[in-house]
Subunit: 177 residues, 2 copies
């Protein structure tokens, strides 16, 4: 592995929330127009070379068949700072003809989100080193099933309890979250 990526470490943000969902069997809604993930996939990066350029992206590995990618763009990390990368604008869709750059997933199938840090190699023959210029990370607690409607009512209730945009469906508990 290239020196620019071999020391890179990644920590999942909101890990306890992910685990809480994972215990119930996380589900993510997919729609024609595209739907955000909740919890948001968010990681804290360290060990980046402040002078190097990186491309950060995600893909979704089916615990069945195909694979899809999504990237939030370039990053040149700031010195003395743990870069936090949020995929909050990433959207999931079940529309095979989607042209909005959303992730196309198969409803009722399970997926493992994966995160990749790719060093942008400035050398002319960088293709030759492509295999050593990236590092990938998987967090098992972020696995989920793509659905068009929630299958498990307890997942629905946890989403309503923890997602600010679903506050309209809460019954009570003004301070619990």
């Amino acid at each position: 592995k290239n020196q620019r990526v071999c020391h890179v470490a990644v920590q999942l943000e909101m890990g306890s929330l992910w685990e809480e969902f994972n215990r119930l069997g996380t589900e993510m809604i997919v729609t024609k127009a595209g739907r955000r993930m909740f919890p948001t996939f968010q990681v804290k990066l360290s060990g980046l070379d402040p002078l190097a350029d990186y491309v950060l992206l995600m893909d979704f590995v089916p615990l069945d068949d195909k694979r899809y990618r999504w990237g939030p763009g370039h990053l040149r990390p700031k010195m003395d700072e743990w870069a936090i990368v949020s995929f909050d604008k990433l959207k999931l869709t079940n529309n095979l003809l989607d042209d909005n750059g959303h992730i196309i997933l198969n409803s009722m199938h399970r997926y493992q989100p994966r995160f990749h840090v790719v060093f942008v190699d400035p050398r002319r023959d960088s293709e030759r080193f492509a295999h050593e210029n990236f590092k990938s990370f998987s967090f098992p607690e972020t696995q989920f099933m793509a659905v068009t409607a929630y299958q498990n009512h307890r997942i629905t209730q946890l989403k309503i309890a923890s997602n600010p945009f679903a506050k309209g469906f809460r019954d009570c508990e003004p301070e619990a979250w």
Copy 2:
């Protein structure tokens, strides 16, 4: 001038709205937190080399003293397409200590917005060619005075009539805009 920029042409969007404001003497609000411009500075680009990289930015030339810049980032133009660049997220502030990347302007002073297309020269000694790698554009009808409160009531009325976010202050006319 470099071939990558010498054929670049730019057309101001919403020209007639800018002219309507200009006839009254355009004013732009500046606040501590930063305020958007309205009308938005928006241009249509043509003559770009589809294989080249560009940086697009704006600055504000005082019809008195200092100068400030703001850039929306890189652009690699799509073939067969007139790229439209919108500076709708640009904000103006009068806070000299601003660290949000907003444009710091002097209230009660007049400014001329200016647009620059900069070719990202891949050559090692690109600094030597910096003077020939950009092209700049000024539209006199986009001049304005920075203010903390509107000075001309007719400007206020035109803003209310044409800015969707000010719809709450309209008296009538559901179809006029």
